[in-house]
Symmetry: C2
Subunit: 307 residues, 2 copies
């Protein structure tokens, strides 16, 4: 079984730290990640530079990453305006985040569910205006799908309804995000099955997991067991977790890749290449803590990758 | 489903640090752990005090822990001499460690496999001399079952053969230990099934996992999915990992209990009580780093335990 590890560090990691990584360093990092075998990288987010100055160079990064053969260049777009910039830049994949907690949505992007669904519909329409061969993949990312620090538990029924609504708006696919590290393996399995029942198995193939409470890889395993084939991860857990100083936010790419390769699943990613990319990141952001247990402990003696 | 979390911190944690925790503090910690709902605690190891002065008070701790109603008092015994001391003290459960890597066995306890099996046979005989009602449970703990830092991979066939040999020696049960954090979820499932095929499902019900490479809870999930019902863990990941400074060795009790309770599995353990026991530990060993993501991040908003 092949598993797609989607690297979100250049977006989710960099947006979570105050330091601004120089564009040339970002390009070197993205190049190194792709050289290690990463086949999908979320290189940035098309948000106003005054809100996230760390990601102001996203268009330039898309242009850079598009030159790397075989790489899917993904970006986050919070609204139609961002999507138009993403289309102009030529991103291969656009993800609009929709927080299942409306409280969180209003707090985070100042938009209700209805307003966000309007944006999704407008983005899908803009994509349809392109020639078929140029249309990017359009995903709806259901954040706080496993619970919210403001609302607590999020009803499963609401997640399914929002997934259905995103498909009705013209998304190609939905993803589930455990924004706060609230998920557990049983809940992961339950919610995947519920969303599959609503929108179809082929419309949910990926998860975005956090490791806030240490369950990130267990949750990944629970999803893999069901057949989920795409997992987001961030190199070095860059950005950490704002709610738990000292803990990584996103699951760590290095540890996830080790788990998958140790299980005999094919990621196409070379561990040594991953450490080389980590070194590029570390040298560009020497003051940021990087996480990950395998980089610390090393690979097991005589460990060989499936590839 | 009920899961038994077996606390090994007072043995595995304390033997891994150079500080010696005062006996009275150990008693307070054990009492607090039991008050939180832990039903089995490995309180020490009957080894010569010159080798592990940290555990020289094991007999006194057994006597203390035996007074706690409903608590299974477990100890490690490396040989017959240790077992005789354990029997004299009145421990409810004795575990003899047998390293599947003979290189590791020779290095660690200066005994070959044959010599260790002789010890196990002699211990089983000593136990049989007791009146039936007083006989402790006798387990063979297969360490380095998932690989060894000296030998690398350990053949599955050897683990199964050693499990069979331990049963022939008179053990009631075997356990599998991932001493170096080499295990992955697929390997966990493969080895459990192989050992079950050799000695029977009821003769392997527990695993001892480490989190050296971050896969501890994923490996626990893999085992739970098959029906493994006992998992060792160490409060605060005490003792860390000698091969990876900054990382916990044993899986952390707090994080494991959170995962199990979040999944709706019944541990009988109250999370607040667990944090109270952690505070006892922290105040007794103020210079030792404690690990665990849930103590750092806190429980999810409105989280309620199954109990």
């Amino acid at each position: 079984m092949r598993v797609l590890v989607s690297e979100v560090g250049p977006r989710d990691g960099l947006q979570s730290i105050s330091a601004i990584m120089p564009t040339e360093a970002k390009k070197r990092w993205i190049t190194a990640l792709a050289a290690a075998g990463l086949r999908e990288i979320e290189v940035g987010s098309f948000v106003p530079a005054r809100l996230l100055p760390q990601l102001a160079d996203t268009a330039e990064l898309v242009a850079h990453a598009r030159q790397i053969a075989g790489l899917t260049v993904a970006v986050l777009v919070p609204n139609l305006k961002g999507a138009e910039a993403a289309l102009a830049a030529g991103a291969h994949k656009l993800t609009i985040p929709l927080s299942c907690s409306e409280t969180h949505s209003l707090r985070n992007v100042r938009r209700s569910h209805a307003q966000m669904l309007d944006e999704a519909r407008a983005i899908a329409a803009a994509i349809r205006e392109l020639p078929a061969a140029e249309r990017p993949h359009f995903e709806g990312g259901l954040s706080t799908a496993f619970g919210c620090t403001l609302e607590g538990a999020v009803p499963e029924r609401r997640v399914v309804e929002l997934a259905e609504a995103l498909m009705d708006c013209g998304c190609d696919e939905v993803g589930l995000s455990d924004t706060n590290g609230y998920a557990d393996p049983a809940g992961v399995r339950r919610l995947i099955r519920a969303v599959w029942a609503g929108v179809g198995r082929e419309r949910l193939t990926g998860l975005h997991l956090h490791n806030t409470r240490g369950l990130g890889l267990a949750n990944a395993l629970a999803a893999l067991d069901l057949g989920i084939s795409t997992l987001d991860a961030s190199q070095g857990g860059l950005g950490g977790c704002p709610f738990a100083p000292g803990a990584s936010g996103n699951i760590v790419t290095e540890d996830l890749v080790f788990m998958l390769e140790a299980m005999g699943l094919d990621t196409g990613i070379d561990f040594r290449g991953l450490l080389a990319a980590r070194a590029v990141l570390a040298s560009a952001l020497p003051d940021e803590p990087l996480y990950g247990m395998v980089p610390l402990a090393g690979l097991p003696l005589n460990f060989s990758q499936s590839a």
